[in-house]
Symmetry: C2
Subunit: 334 residues, 2 copies
Amino acid sequence: MKEVAKLAGTSWTVVSYVVNDGPRPVAPETRKRVLEAMKTLGYRKNALAQALKTQQTSTLGIVLPDLARPFFSEMARAIEDAAYKRDLRVLVGSSHFDHARQAAYVDTYLQLQVEGILLVPIDHQVPEGLRHAFETGMPVTSVHRKIDLNIPAVVADDAAGGRLAAEHLLSKGHSRIACLSGPREDEGPIETRTRGFLDALAAEGAPQWIPPVRCSDRDLRQQAYEQASRLLTEHPDVTAICAVTDELALGVMRASFERGRRIGTDLSLISIDGTEQTQLTAPPLTVVQEDFAMLGELAVRLLLGQEPSAASTEENASHVVPMNLVPRRSVHQL
Amino acid sequence: MKEVAKLAGTSWTVVSYVVNDGPRPVAPETRKRVLEAMKTLGYRKNALAQALKTQQTSTLGIVLPDLARPFFSEMARAIEDAAYKRDLRVLVGSSHFDHARQAAYVDTYLQLQVEGILLVPIDHQVPEGLRHAFETGMPVTSVHRKIDLNIPAVVADDAAGGRLAAEHLLSKGHSRIACLSGPREDEGPIETRTRGFLDALAAEGAPQWIPPVRCSDRDLRQQAYEQASRLLTEHPDVTAICAVTDELALGVMRASFERGRRIGTDLSLISIDGTEQTQLTAPPLTVVQEDFAMLGELAVRLLLGQEPSAASTEENASHVVPMNLVPRRSVHQL
DNA sequence: GTGAAAGCGCTAACAG
DNA sequence: CTGTTAGCGCTTTCAC
């Protein structure tokens, strides 16, 4: 900067003024000289120094379980897009479902003076250090699952998701409907979806036919396949399956493929998530789709305090983004 | 820091010494007091200030086309993992195949004084500003495709990938083999794979049966499906298809599903990429797999100058990571 | 073993 | 309109 000032024959203050276009006016003449000097020197402001001075890093930190899983990577993209629009950069880290790593990322981000932390938590536990940071003013919002009554959250309407799936299957005349779900938890998206599904079934006077088939967390994708296989053999008369996540649904597709049951023709399948991969399956999957774009948008708005904090309906400041039924080819009329 | 110093009844210098565990020794007694003070005050070092002083941000910048596409998100994860191991944080941005946005990210990262930039380029063009940065000492490496003879790159052995696919199909007795490829380019991974495939076919005395079917970049996934459909109708006697990317392969699966041709039974399919989603298809896809972990690892090593710069075989400092055949269920013996 | 002081590159009073 | 100056929070010589 000094260099630029010298070359332009002025003081660095003025250079700062033109770089930031303020806060004081600069004579057009001077400005031109400065601009020129910047060009020839290839000057680029040091965002670090600027941040140190202004206390504004224009950077967000994201911690999520696994950057390579479609569900999370679509979330990450949505968040990144929302951030980009607002001229914010994002640091991203995968926790790999490891509490220590999750906490480590939170800590680093704190040290880096991010403007806020977006956490897609591993489970309900609040990472070491995050609570304190939040209470002392660091903006924090949890995404996809709530971890604390006070920490704002933006989650999908998982219960409605389950309900939509159930209603859709019912409306197509199914009654022997199975549900493929994840490990039983106390709370969390998986459980909420499952419950929403089951409740809707009951509400429509078609109570659960067989209990939800549970896949354990370890090696989930393999589990999905195995449990689905078991399901199909033990209950050959099942006519429709609701998979609580897309990955689970893919397991069902494989299992039914191997048993010669054609999805969308003699077995219906619906899943909840709606990641892009479900468009590309054979046949394309009917899904209840999470609105990732809105989720991301809302998450950064909430983080930046640009959202009316719709604590109206919820006990805390959490926002709920709607889920939508996207009919494709995997559900047939019975 | 001052606070901590005061509470510990010493000077901030000493606090710095204990925080960094150096460069001067500290009396165990004093150290304990400082540590205590840090705890009670919840002190966390300001990484910005530290970076400003030391000129070390411990941060890498990544720019890639689309964070949500499995191919890139697996790359991103691999890079993130490699970075995490070395205590480096990563900023990530999606260019969305937009040159301006790609350049914008490069520029921001430069301003943020990252220690290096990892670019997964949109095409062969070197983004505005990147070349200059590189030439003035900023570590830069391009990943997945080369953009410049001087800028180090780490790419997969795409030609070998194509060859492996061809050889595998041939070894299973196929001869009416089609190739589903992307838009024709001058160079780049897609083209290299295609060429490798074709060359191997010729080398094995089984020259191309029909020319590669090209999908244009616009709406690639839809194209894959449509072109595959066309291929199957126009050439019903095709017995094996090599899709040059996983996304293309998914299109083939859908098209063949609709035509009642069972993959792995009466139509063989192999694809190149090997993203995780190919394990979950029905049937699981036989693929030529890119070693993302090694790619990421190598990329950051190269970036940090920790790699012997194996310019031996290549004209520039690019590294080539091997590709591996992963036989699954989608290729049948003829 | 400890402390005072300079300075990383920038912003923003505050004078001129 | 422009220039001087004092820090932002930290590291690190250099004296004590």
